[in-house]
Symmetry: C2
């Protein structure tokens, strides 16, 4: 039986029921985080907490007890016997339940806080062999830096990608590569590692930010510059990052092979260093 | 006690509880409609049904029994003793509850269908005196023609408007006026009635479409052309339309007075004709 967290209580996930007046259900008026448990520790929980704070500030969500999330997450790992396995914890905070109005409820109401954990099976095949991704004209809003639950554009795009046999959909806005439907995108061009800079057009990925740090530590040249779509053909390597995919090589973009069609050398250096950090956490 | 509809059953609204796995709650993966009851009939129910079908098709939502909505809506009016008053019925259809994945659940699952009714108090003061609206750079996605529940951008924008004392937020995309956060926008320039043409950038409003018909019947010149923001200063009249506001005059946009600062003559003609249609329904 999965034990989840809901508004201050731990209870069986099956018993949690959301009000149909919840603004998460009616308006996508909420934010979320997904953190990863590496058999002993959460990877970069401070990074996730900072981003959660940023997303909540953008929406002016008031969860005064948000600082309790790390201990909620640990408790969910314990209560679900996940301490010794790879696992994930999902957190969602919405503005709460109130009579339906486009403006915020006034006076303010308590937010809805929901969190649950599950055992996680890493996709090792994709990490070893690399994946093919599709390209699609950006269709999302202009505040992709907010980790909101308004994910309809992401799900529609990812669904389209999977139906064409791709493992991710990468967006192009004004001819520049932004990011994937639920990942950040990197490419190696002329020996330098490129990724879209932080802006309203991408989510500040936790894995992205750690990869940038790791690349710098490995003395790889890093350029936080958007890649024009028509420069992709010069890429010798590419990869995506997110909390579940970590560093997953990309061997084909929009039907065009990247480099030799196999995971690249710099990708491997970064991926190995990332893996050693996450296994180091186990000690 | 409010009686609502949930997945085939009528039951007290307070007893309805949505699963936290519902894709409406996690991904904004759903669509909605709001229909208006005029003391005896729903206004343009066929228009709402066609749009619901379009939205569902865009999301590939499968609610095979969607044709039953008109009778569900009437039943809600009856069960809540609203037959003799102005009322609204809200309908939301989501992809349903399933393990959280960005792609659609496979195999498919049953959608979540939720509907409820409430007595409605028209905002006669705004309709008589007109309203002030703000202008804001468009921040929504590129598929605003879908009436989806991914309304976070709309709520944030409308909240901003209300805090500045405005009654609506009108969006500007690439220097062209698109529509409001939950209304369509019209302006009279050189004696012709302008509104943004149907496209991915606006919702095909039911009131909008009826107003265009009514304007043509009244032999008002109609131009379905986007108004450049810098042409707004030539507007002698403006109004917004939606199911609850019907035809509500706009007397100020972004701090600039429209015309004389009072509701305009063509606006009144259209508004009066709209009112006579909706009161005719009562007969």
């Amino acid at each position: 039986m999965n034990i989840a967290y809901y508004n201050g209580k731990f209870l069986p996930k099956d018993e949690i029921r959301i009000s149909p007046d919840d603004r998460g259900f009616l308006f996508a008026d909420g934010v979320y985080e997904v953190v990863r448990w590496y058999n002993g520790f959460f990877y970069d929980m401070p990074g996730h907490m900072t981003r959660l704070g940023n997303s909540m500030r953008e929406l002016r969500l008031q969860w005064t007890d948000s600082g309790s999330f790390p201990s909620i997450a640990e408790e969910l790992i314990k209560k679900n016997d996940l301490a010794g396995t790879p696992a994930m914890v999902y957190l969602q905070v919405t503005r709460g339940a109130a009579r339906r109005t486009h403006h915020f409820p006034s006076p303010g109401i308590d937010p809805t806080v929901y969190s649950y954990a599950w055992g996680f099976e890493p996709d090792t095949e994709s990490k070893e062999k690399g994946i093919k991704v599709m390209l699609k004209e950006e269709l999302r809003w202009s505040r992709c830096n907010i980790k909101s639950i308004a994910l309809l554009p992401n799900t529609l795009s990812y669904q389209e990608a999977t139906e064409f046999g791709y493992k991710e959909c990468i967006f192009v806005r004004n001819r520049l590569i932004t990011e994937g439907s639920h990942s950040n995108f990197f490419a190696v061009i002329d020996g330098a590692l490129y990724t879209h800079p932080e802006s309203n057009n991408i989510l500040s990925g936790i894995t992205r930010n750690n990869v940038l740090r790791i690349a710098a530590e490995a003395e790889i040249r890093v350029r936080e510059e958007a890649i024009p779509e028509n420069k992709l053909r010069f890429a010798t390597e590419a990869f995506i990052t997110n909390t579940s995919a970590e560093v997953t090589p990309v061997i084909e973009v929009g039907g065009n092979t990247i480099g030799t069609g196999a995971p690249g050398a710099l990708t491997k250096i970064i991926s190995d260093r990332f893996a050693s950090e996450t296994s180091a956490l186990r000690r």
